[in-house]
Amino acid sequence: MVGIVIVSHSSKISEGVVELSSQMAGDVKVLSAGGTDDGRIGTDAIKIKESIEKANDGDGVLVFADLGSAVMNAQLAIDMLDEDLQKKVLIANGPIVEGAVVAAVQASIGNNLEEVKQSAEESKNMNKI
């Protein structure tokens, strides 16, 4: 099953997104990598790397990131992974709340990494009103 990692500057945001998306798909590994290790606003490539490793059960991991350095640190985290795992990790170019919920549902029904990523990215076109 595809795993999911949520990267945010705020650990409250990433933990909240994990909580929300896990509610929709309990079996999927959705992990939070938010804030710095001393509780400040920011992102931490090492924490992201470790979360990706934990979220992977062989079918790869989709990463969601919020602003600026979150994306940069997610890319750096991927560069630091073992080569085999590197090929199975993608960053979703989509919103982290809606995207993560869609991705969790898609992962839970056994879709592959590319399919989960595509569905998550389509969520940016969802109409709310």
């Binding site: 710095t36 290790d37 001393d38 400040r40 606003i41 920011g42 992102t43 931490d44 490539a45 090492i46 924490k47 602003l67 600026g68 350095s69 940069m72 640190n73 890319q75 750096l76």
Partner: protein
């Protein structure tokens, strides 16, 4: 020639420079960013200071790589992965070497800039640290190629970086949080370019004192 001992002294002085300029860098960032540049850099470099005793007798590659990993894990903002990449790319050039010669120094500078461009997807003129680093690299490389010693070359590099910082006042930010401000970012110098200049100045000052 920069021995591993001198390299450690440069890094220790960098820690002090960042600490002394913590508030200044944060004030600059408050004008066009998220007011954390000085705080973040100081967090990272203070953590580097704790690692320095364990790096005595180590090769230059190990020293630079250790600094990189600490900055990556401790800084928190975009400057973590960016400065982390600078040191990581530099580490690869001098892996297992106990000293950095002039040629290595040019190569470290070159690799570091390529790394920052790749990681930050930025170019010269985007109002980033590259506006200090690229002119500094160009003057450093020219100086070495013209037979200047490493002290004079690093003096020229920090001077070019200073002029690069001044230039960032005139341009619009295209990267990072400041890019949300558009025209309003004009008139303010870039905090990242400023910290890059301060670090380059520290390299020159350390070498000049030896």
């Amino acid at each position: 020639m920069i021995t591993s001992d001198i390299l450690l002294r440069i890094i220790e002085n960098m820690v002090n420079t960042i600490k002394e300029n913590k508030d200044y860098l944060t004030e600059l960032d408050a004008k066009i960013g998220d007011s954390d540049h000085g705080i973040n850099m100081d967090k990272g470099f203070s953590a580097v200071l704790e690692k320095l005793p364990s790096l005595k007798e180590k090769d230059c590659g190990t020293i630079l790589k250790t600094v990189a990993m600490v900055l990556i894990s401790k800084v928190g903002g975009a400057s973590g992965p960016l400065y982390g990449t600078v040191f990581l790319k530099g580490a690869a050039v001098v892996q297992d070497k106990m000293e950095i010669n002039e040629e290595d120094a040019v190569a470290i500078f070159d690799e570091a800039i390529k790394g920052v461009k790749m990681r930050g997807k930025a170019e010269k003129g985007d109002k980033t640290m590259l506006d200090a680093l690229i002119p500094a690299y160009e003057d450093f490389k020219d100086s070495i190629e013209n037979g200047e010693d490493i002290v004079k070359a690093s003096y020229n590099a920090q001077k070019a970086a200073y002029e690069g910082v001044e230039y960032t006042k005139e341009i619009i930010a295209k990267k990072g949080r400041a890019s949300y401000l558009g025209e309003r970012s004009i008139g303010h110098q870039d905090p990242g370019a400023t910290s890059s200049y301060l670090l380059l100045k520290t390299i020159w000052k350390t070498l000049d004192e030896i």
